[in-house]
Subunit: 206 residues, 2 copies
């Protein structure tokens, strides 16, 4: 039911997903879909939930640092498999069963790391947002590679180069498609190190 919708969204893009298109793919009339889903809104929520349900959550391991890492990598894999879902996650807060399950897992991970409940919630939000940000960055980068405009982007006119020296200097490094995985891991290192620091501060306080 929803699987077909997710497939369309991932293949053709989220904005190409319509009741009419989905219906024709299922060999049915558009109005028949209203039997299975209340709304377009509910449809989007449904495919968001479906995608998130496919997130692989790892069992607790010895080193607490490894668990956020593993979760982050799972999330990245999910984002690559279902690019449309990422856009859904940023545009609408989900509170479906899959979202609750994921939230519980991530909160548990932070609690076991040593954060008290209130701080765990705070860092949960930061962690989730940061993961989304990293995922969006990758999705955008992928688009930039496919985008024909991308080629001329780094090239600034001499006049602009004078007015925007830092941008001109950075241009060579701004070319897309460098090494998405390395960038992701670097962002992850940054995040984990930050949490370690916060844990140390918290421990010093108590």
């Amino acid at each position: 039911v929803l699987a077909a919708a997710l497939a369309i969204a991932d293949e053709a893009g989220l904005e190409q997903l319509s009741f009419r298109r989905l219906a024709s793919r299922l060999g049915v009339t558009p109005m028949a879909l209203y039997r299975h889903v209340e709304d377009k809104d509910a449809l989007l929520e449904g495919i968001g939930d479906l995608a998130l349900a496919r997130l692989e959550l790892t069992a607790p391991t010895g080193d607490w640092r490894e668990q956020p890492r593993a979760t982050a990598r799972s999330f990245r894999a999910l984002a690559l498999a279902h690019p449309a879902a990422v856009r859904l996650f940023v545009s609408r807060p989900l509170f479906t069963p899959a979202a609750q399950r994921t939230a519980d897992a991530v909160l548990g991970l932070l609690r076991r790391a040593g954060f008290p409940p209130e701080r765990a919630v705070l860092h949960y939000r930061q962690l989730v947002r940061f993961l989304l940000a990293l995922a969006v960055l990758e999705a955008e980068r992928r688009d930039a590679v496919a985008d024909p405009r991308g080629a001329g982007r780094a090239a600034l006119s001499p006049l602009l180069a004078e007015q925007l020296p830092y941008l001109a200097e950075a241009a060579p490094y701004l070319a897309p498609g460098e090494d998405a995985e390395a960038a992701f891991e670097a962002g992850l290192d940054f995040l984990i190190a930050g949490f370690e620091r916060l844990l140390a501060v918290g421990a010093a306080r108590s």
Copy 2:
């Protein structure tokens, strides 16, 4: 021209912005807009650029840490003034004049902080993404307060509470509308501290 479009998007939401609606607001026929803007795509790019042009960039100051902070706060203010623009920023990479000006300013800030050009680009991406993430977090939170569903959200059924203990434990703290500014500042501290650490590591290496 574009100002009216931005106003509609901020007032009624991005998805309510249409050529027909914009035209009626301007007291003109929808097709007349094609004289001033090539496309709906160009229209969206235009209002994104317009919003970003309103970002206040501060002059370089003594303490390098203060500049990313000031920029971040400007960006937050922009996000609050033009909520529609935030959604545009995450969904489409901008390379308009205002975007170039902003990129140059942020890159310059990182260069002056001590990062070499290649690393500055890397951290520029992280910084921009993080700021967007914080801004989206706030926009979502604002929506959550307005959303009537939000009231029942934190309340889990007893059965679920047993299966999702960490979520149940966190529920009291998940209520929205706490203290957006404090959360923003905490995220900012996290980010700046991370950059300081990276600078220290870089200095140790060289």
